[in-house]
Symmetry: C2
Subunit: 202 residues, 2 copies
DNA sequence: ATTACTAACTTTCGAGTAT
DNA sequence: TATACTCGAAAGTTAGTAA
């Protein structure tokens, strides 16, 4: 397998030997990876052809980028490209509830809405860029969960704006960024769903 | 943890939350990693300070380099720097036994000895550069195991030489390269133990 | 607060096989 | 030859605690 696009012809016992596990476990591993949609298989007379799916390659790349981020000590900021989406439309409600706490943390009173951005590809984990945390709190009988935030620059075709990215601690790994801003960016810059923007972190 | 040299202050329950496992398992993981010499710990009042050891960082780097090799489709050859060592001194004996088979495979009759080279740092797995295999065989009651080989260039300060690297399939992962050559390289170039050389593969 | 032991409980593994 | 199922054994996980 010289290229990541290649198919690999391997039998379950060869894989077992290579991994120093039994043929049975190797067979089971392959079938689990297939079940998770990470690889595709096709039976051959002797052995089977195995190749990564798009999803599998993305997972590998995510792991790779996380390691890269850790091992190569770059001062370079992280720039992630993504597509503007509508999210769940709850942004406005939550920002309203968190607004006064946000103001204390980030220094401005937020626009009642979020810009949701879905990254186009795998990217390293951004947790470590966290600048601060808003502790969980109650209003009446409703509990609002802990949320981290970090400064980011949102970059469009002909504009850019300093904003904050919020990272609710509970709903980890939806992989959609929620951006808090001073004003309505959709109106200010004429942004609409599907537009490509960059998020510069750090 | 912004740098790989940093210590991380974390409690076993924080780690458990982060990994979505129990506090007990997080504690066990840390203690296993410590047992394997991959991390160092020191108890703090609240939590513990954790940092990677040299060995741990090397393991991470090896994983990283393997992924890099797979994901970034470089045609660049792999160059690994290492130190000449004496190995176990068995080289001469084994080369003698494999000599006629080696001649058929690599096209020249090998010098009865190997140059052993110990890589200075982590490097990607070189299995995929294998050019051919010498099947296991018997001589009298002695069995000689399967061995793979690949062409490499050994590069010293003021010289270089085309050689072959042999990869005995049984004794995987000693992480010392054994080099087969046309003549006695130690004599030819005045190489001695501890000298730095480069191995160019692919 | 911690870390980490013990004792259940749960999951994973692989030898024996079926196909 | 293959792959892959079953099921008893081995390994991993965690609730309950001790320190």
């Amino acid at each position: 397998m010289k290229s990541k696009e290649d198919k690999l012809s391997i039998s379950s016992s060869e894989l077992g030997d290579y991994m120093r596990i039994s043929q049975q476990s190797a067979s089971r591993y392959l079938s689990e990876l297939e079940g998770k949609g990470l690889i595709e298989r096709s039976r051959e007379g002797k052995g089977q052809l195995v190749k990564f799916t798009e999803k599998g390659l993305n997972l590998l790349e995510e792991i790779y980028l996380n390691l890269q981020d850790f091992i190569e000590e770059k001062g370079k900021p992280l720039v992630i490209e993504g597509k503007v989406t509508s999210g769940l439309g709850e942004g406005a409600y939550y920002v309203r509830e968190y607004a006064d706490k946000l103001q204390k943390s980030i220094g401005f009173f937020p626009f009642y809405g979020t810009l949701n951005i879905k990254p186009l590809k795998a990217h390293p984990n951004i947790d470590k860029y966290t600048a601060g945390t808003i502790r969980s709190f109650k209003k009446g009988d409703r509990t609002f969960g802990e949320t981290e935030y970090m400064p980011v620059k949102i970059i469009g075709d002909e504009w850019e704006e300093d904003c904050y990215l919020i990272l609710p601690k509970r709903t980890h790994h939806i992989d959609e960024f929620e951006i808090i801003s001073r004003s309505n960016l959709r109106k200010k810059f004429g942004i609409k769903d599907g537009d490509l923007v960059k998020v510069r972190i750090g």
